[in-house]
């Protein structure tokens, strides 16, 4: 693993997650470098989104821990911006583009505080960066798919985080949005920020990202594109699961053995 003077933006240690009794991720550990764009890659159902959610503390971990810049999430919440998958958002919700972007500022505000002029300026800049300023008064259901994605990126941007976690930002967007996202990545990288994306397109992964984490219910490989984007790793990632590992882990959850063991 990389040894830097500053602790890694995310270090995952022995992470285990499950859905009901089915193991989704088993014993995943890795560290990512700072200031890079990092893709999480794997087949459908490999646990990519789950990994992201586990890292963000949105879904419970069975085991393991995640550190952000060497500290637990609670201390680094606002330094970490999350962009959910587009399908998970209620687009019928009565809310305007500007209000969504301002949500990025709420974390910094006290319960009773309203967004200040500065907050509005930051939100405005974020929208302009993504060429969405003219849509600021639209209701979110009146946007195209790509525009909706850009709104959520602008929201993350307005949070002024140093680490960005995005769930499939390129899924189902138009060319203009794709370009806008790549531009955004460049700018963020220039500012030394770290970006982690769930990505599903193998054709573009080498082009858009510096680093890859291959996942298929377990960690297959993690490292710089040039060293890990190999045929062997792809075969391992897309070559199906380890049946023994899967069966036994499932049985372990079913019998709740992991709990029985804790009390020793």
């Amino acid at each position: 693993m990389t040894q830097t003077t500053r602790p890694s933006p995310i270090s995952v240690n022995n992470l285990n997650m499950r859905y009901q009794y089915k193991p989704v991720l088993t014993d995943v550990s890795f560290e990512i470098p700072e200031g890079k764009t990092i893709a999480i890659v794997g087949p459908n159902g490999a646990g990519k989104s789950t990994l992201l959610k586990g890292i963000m503390g949105l879904e419970p971990l069975m085991e393991g821990e995640v550190k952000f810049f060497g500290e637990p999430l609670a201390q680094k919440r606002l330094a970490t911006a999350y962009v959910p998958q587009r399908e998970e958002i209620d687009w019928d919700f009565p809310i305007k583009v500007m209000d969504v972007v301002l949500m990025g500022r709420h974390g910094q505000l006290k319960l009773w505080q309203r967004p200040s002029k500065l907050d509005h300026e930051i939100a405005e800049q974020a929208l302009k960066d993504l060429q969405m300023w003219e849509f600021k008064d639209r209701q979110i259901s009146q946007l195209s798919g790509g525009q909706q994605q850009r709104v959520f990126l602008a929201r993350a941007l307005a949070q002024q985080a140093s680490l960005y976690l995005m769930d499939e930002p390129f899924a189902g967007v138009d060319v203009a949005t794709e370009k806008a996202i790549i531009e955004l990545f460049k700018n963020l990288k220039a500012q030394g920020k770290t970006i982690v994306c769930v990505h599903h397109d193998l054709n573009t992964v080498g082009e858009y990202f510096d680093w890859i984490i291959f996942i298929n219910a377990r960690l297959v490989a993690a490292g710089p594109v040039e060293s890990v984007l190999t045929k062997e790793n792809l075969n391992k990632t897309y070559g199906g699961r380890l049946s023994l590992l899967n069966d036994l882990t499932e049985q372990m959850y079913r019998t709740r053995l992991n709990q029985a063991h804790k009390h020793d």
């Binding site: 590992l245 069966d247 053995l257 992991n258 029985a260």
Partner: protein, 449 residues
């Protein structure tokens, strides 16, 4: 005071005896009717539950209310058939509304259910209050369908109830295969060429019918529970759909029996709430005591598992100690064990006692030694542990320092077949990632058989 009471009215026992001697034919009819209702509603509600529409019955029952009132307003009669048809109509309108709203507007399914339920109920109450202000005959008793009152049921009511419930039970039996298929997966059923929409409509009709005939017994407000609670309780007892349905029918009947008894003893009491309370008690009993899924059983299993795990852990630790002494000295004390495995002393002593009882270990000079059986099992556990470590190392590329904690658990659940499979898949079967040798499988080891 009490004596006066006894003279004035018969006591509970006398009433019960009177009831069970079947002198009061009407009471008997009510009993039969409510048992039939309890059975049919539980069964049909079971399918609604499996279709993940548990609260549909609640909405449909509420939706029946304006139908009853409208029928009364239009025909000025309390003929059960007229009431039934009125209720059926308005329930069906409610059913379609619940379906239509989310498909054609932004309104979400759960909100659509709540809207339909509350709007129809309000409409029904509005009509009821209007009727109560009118100068018409035999309007009294209309409000009994809100909470249900078995005692207020007439012979005609019960006849209709019997016909409808028997019809429902027959229909469910006749179409059981299809209903089960659709409940399992509607998409799969469609791919088999089953006219799913038609059967769903039939199912809806049966639900509406059972709700509507149940109103006088259970009432609008609580009908939902009769459809929902029995199946929820029965589910804890079995995985077999037919068994679950029979059980829920039994629960439905039992609760009907209890509540009609109470209603007979205290005629002013509404039946519905008692039926719900008895159903909920059955549910609670099932939740706690069901043989395979009940909470107590689950807790017990967990405790046993925990004990098994700590026994096996101690055995393996003894093996490790034995191994370190080149299999020469088989005699260890508690301090030796705790040096290798952190375990509270009380728990360790307890576990050792259990192992002694099972003759896995014997007391010896310094403390304890492995018996022959104990050694066999300890060898096998160690073998599985180390095989699994190798597997993780080879297939998951986990470094030697990360494989131990996973193997600590998997060793307890590996079966003989899985062990063979593991052997076949491994390159290295001689030593684990830490360099310890993997013990050979001794003859006659059939712990899992």
């Amino acid at each position: 005071m009490q004596e006066w009471n006894l003279i004035q009215q018969p006591g509970t026992w006398e009433l019960l005896i009177e009831f069970w001697s079947f002198e009061d034919m009407n009471a008997l009819w009510v009993l039969m009717g409510s048992i039939l209702l309890g059975m049919s509603a539980s069964v049909i509600g079971g399918f609604a539950f499996l279709r993940k529409r548990s609260l549909i019955g609640d909405a449909l029952a509420h939706a029946a209310l304006p139908g009853v009132m409208m029928a009364f307003l239009l025909f000025q009669t309390r003929d059960p058939l007229v009431m039934f048809l009125g209720a059926l109509t308005s329930s069906f309108i409610g059913f379609f509304l619940i379906d239509w709203l989310p498909k054609n507007t932004k309104i979400k399914p759960d909100t659509a259910l709540a809207i339909t339920l509350s709007f129809f109920f309000a409409l029904g109450l509005m009509l009821l209050s209007h009727i109560q202000g009118l100068q018409v005959e035999n309007k009294s008793g209309l409000d009994k369908i809100l909470f249900g009152q078995a005692a207020a049921m007439t012979q005609q009511d019960i006849t209709l109830l019997a016909y409808v419930t028997v019809f429902i039970l027959v229909a469910v039996t006749a179409f059981f295969q299809k209903f089960r298929l659709i409940a399992f997966s509607a998409i799969y059923a469609r791919s088999l060429g089953v006219p799913v929409a038609l059967y769903e409509l039939l199912l809806a009709l049966l639900i509406v019918m059972s709700v509507v005939v149940g109103l006088q017994l259970v009432g609008v407000v609580l009908m939902a529970a009769v459809l929902l609670t029995p199946i929820a309780a029965a589910r804890f007892w079995s995985d077999q759909l037919t068994t679950i349905l029979f059980l829920s029918a039994f629960f439905g009947a039992l609760s009907a029996l209890i509540s009609t008894q109470i209603s007979y003893l205290a005629p002013a009491m509404p039946t519905g709430p008692w039926m719900v309370v008895s159903l909920a008690s059955l549910f609670l009993l099932s939740l706690l005591f069901a043989p395979s899924r009940g909470l107590i059983k689950r807790y017990w299993q967990q405790r046993q598992l925990r004990q098994k795990v700590s026994e096996e852990n101690v055995l393996r630790t003894l093996y490790k100690l034995y191994e370190r002494r080149q299999f020469e000295q088989n005699d260890f004390n508690i301090a030796d064990i705790q040096a290798l495995r952190s375990m509270p002393t009380d728990m360790l002593k307890d576990t050792l006692k259990h192992l002694c009882k099972k003759q896995m270990i014997r007391e010896s000079m310094r403390g304890f030694c492995l018996s022959k059986e104990g050694l066999e099992i300890a060898t096998q556990l160690t073998r599985r542990h180390r095989l699994w470590e190798n597997y993780l190392n080879q297939y998951m590329d986990l470094p030697a320092d990360q494989v131990h904690s996973q193997a600590e658990r998997i060793e307890h659940i590996l079966t003989q077949e899985q062990e063979w499979q593991l052997e076949a898949e491994l390159k290295n079967r001689k030593s684990d990632p830490h360099g310890n040798p993997i013990p050979e499988n001794t003859e006659g080891m059939s712990r899992d058989k």
